[in-house]
């Protein structure tokens, strides 16, 4: 970007500041995807997607079932590696580093880019162990006291501490659905990730639990890059600042959430979000 001499004036610098907050193009993205294709065998599930993910914004992926949004989300931390027929081409970078490079430690990558799934999936272990497991295997804690601090900090950030502090030894699976999901978020947070991917994190939850997760997402924004796949248009509108609409494996439109939901540029986006699709 070429800066004009006018940047000295307070108005210009204010305009520049708001650009930094508002513009997709300014600032360094946390993750950068370029010309990404994902194949399942011969079938191309994702076709030439370019997108930047920023820590400052929650990014929502929306689109009809089968549009490829979850497939693309899973490409961001190489979860598709677990599917033998899946193949990814193009580049996906985390802080400028190609995550599909041969030297990339996938376990390390998934700690840096954590994931929360549709159905809460706590380990069948105590609440404490659910959180402590990650820091332990990644060697983040030197002793039990360190670990205690990490467990409390993660549970606090996930807004669960007050509800479980007196029963850390209870099984994680004994919690309610919404609590289990927050436990999973706390588990992802425990290894100090840079990005958290959420694949329909609220679709199995009641409205109150959903509201708590949405509140949590808002609190975590800025600290972590957050990408959320959701089928709820209202949820995408509420929690995200950037929205990407996928259709038939293509990224149709990516922009400010407020624009996408009040005045989308693409006809296909408009038809989908207004319920005229198909």
């Amino acid at each position: 970007m070429v800066m004009s001499e006018a940047t000295d004036s307070p108005l210009a610098s204010q305009a520049q500041k708001s650009l930094e907050h508002e513009n997709i193009e300014t600032g360094e993205p946390k993750m950068r995807a370029r010309d990404v294709d994902v194949y399942y065998g011969q079938k191309k599930a994702i076709d030439g997607v370019n997108i930047d993910v920023f820590t400052e914004f929650v990014t929502a992926f929306i689109g009809p079932s089968g549009c490829g949004k979850s497939t693309f989300l899973r490409a961001l931390n190489r979860m598709n590696d677990t599917i033998p027929s899946a193949r990814v081409t193009g580049t996906i970078e985390l802080d400028g580093e190609d995550i599909y490079a041969s030297g990339m430690d996938v376990v390390q990558l998934r700690a840096r880019v954590g994931m929360v799934f549709q159905k809460p999936n706590p380990f069948p272990k105590s609440i404490y162990e659910n959180i402590a497991y990650g820091p332990k295997i990644h060697g983040l804690a030197e002793n039990k006291a360190d670990l205690d601090v990490m467990v409390e900090k993660s549970l606090r950030r996930a807004g669960l501490w007050e509800e479980v502090k007196d029963r850390l030894d209870d099984s994680g699976t004994a919690l309610s659905g919404g609590q289990q999901q927050r436990l999973c978020i706390a588990r992802a947070i425990a290894v100090d990730p840079e990005v958290i991917l959420m694949d329909e994190p609220c679709s199995a939850l009641d409205p109150i639990a959903t509201a708590k997760i949405e509140e949590l997402i808002d609190e975590l924004r800025g600290r972590y890059g957050i990408v959320i796949v959701t089928h709820s248009m209202q949820q995408a509108a509420r929690v995200s600042q950037r929205t990407a609409f996928f259709h038939l494996g293509h990224l149709v439109e990516y922009g400010h959430t407020s624009d996408i939901f009040t005045n989308p540029a693409e006809k296909r986006t408009q038809d989908y979000i207004t319920g005229r699709y198909g």
């Binding site: 509108a237 038809d271 207004t274 319920g275």
Partner: protein, 222 residues
């Protein structure tokens, strides 16, 4: 326009648009008849206009209820959202236009010596332009036509020019014939009401533009 997957949503929107169109029709007739009553000194017609305004008020309430219902039940997005928000605002503005017409009708019986006033020939011409603006802006609304909406906005200058001319005319008339001040003041208020109707039609046009395109006409002073 492609239909919604949920058919009832389309029915709701069609109903809402129908209500707005009905309001527009009533407002337009109210303007025309209030001026007709004024020119002919027809107090009976004037009181009919006044009475019929209640219907416009009732329709506005219905538009409000319908729009709120759609917002609550359908959580509309994009053009749908803009359409509902615009309908909510347009309903209020058209009701206000009806109030101005009613106010004109109320003044009909308070004018004495009507043959003495030159503006009595100018006012119907001014009213015609204002009523046409109301008519055309609702046509633009029905057709979701931003170009036509813009054209209505531009026509407001004509109404303003009429107002200035009538204003000057009446002021000099009052200076020359102090005995007629009370009647002249009534006519001044009527001209003012028509001028306001033009402004409100302009507001509606801006909302039609917004609903159709997602933006207010940016090159026109709001």
């Amino acid at each position: 326009m492609v239909e919604h997957t949920v058919k009832a949503f389309d029915e709701d929107i069609t109903r809402l648009r129908g209500l707005i169109a009905e309001m527009g029709g009533l407002a337009e007739v109210a303007i025309q008849q209030s001026l007709q009553a004024l020119v002919q000194g027809d107090e009976e017609l004037a009181s009919e206009v006044v009475k019929r305004d209640a219907k416009l008020d009732a329709l506005e309430t219905e538009v409000d209820a319908m729009a709120v219902r759609i917002l609550a039940l359908r959580a509309p997005m994009a053009d749908d959202l803009r359409e509902i928000v615009a309908a909510l605002k347009i309903g209020g503005v058209v009701e206000r236009i009806g109030d101005y017409a009613k106010n004109i009708a109320k003044r009909v019986g308070r004018i004495e010596g009507r043959s003495k006033f030159e503006p009595l020939t100018l006012l119907p011409a001014m009213g015609e332009v204002a009523a046409e603006m109301v008519h055309d802006v609702l046509t633009a609304y029905a057709a979701r036509d931003p170009v036509m909406a813009r054209e209505v906005i531009e026509r407001d200058d004509k109404v303003d020019a009429f107002y200035d001319s009538i204003f000057r005319n009446l002021v000099s008339h009052m200076v020359e014939n102090p005995a007629t001040i009370s009647s002249a003041a009534q006519l001044l208020f009527i001209a003012r009401n028509l001028e306001r109707i033009g402004d409100h039609a302009t507001n509606v046009a801006e909302m039609v533009h917004y609903s159709a395109t997602g933006a207010y006409p940016d090159d026109i002073e709001r």
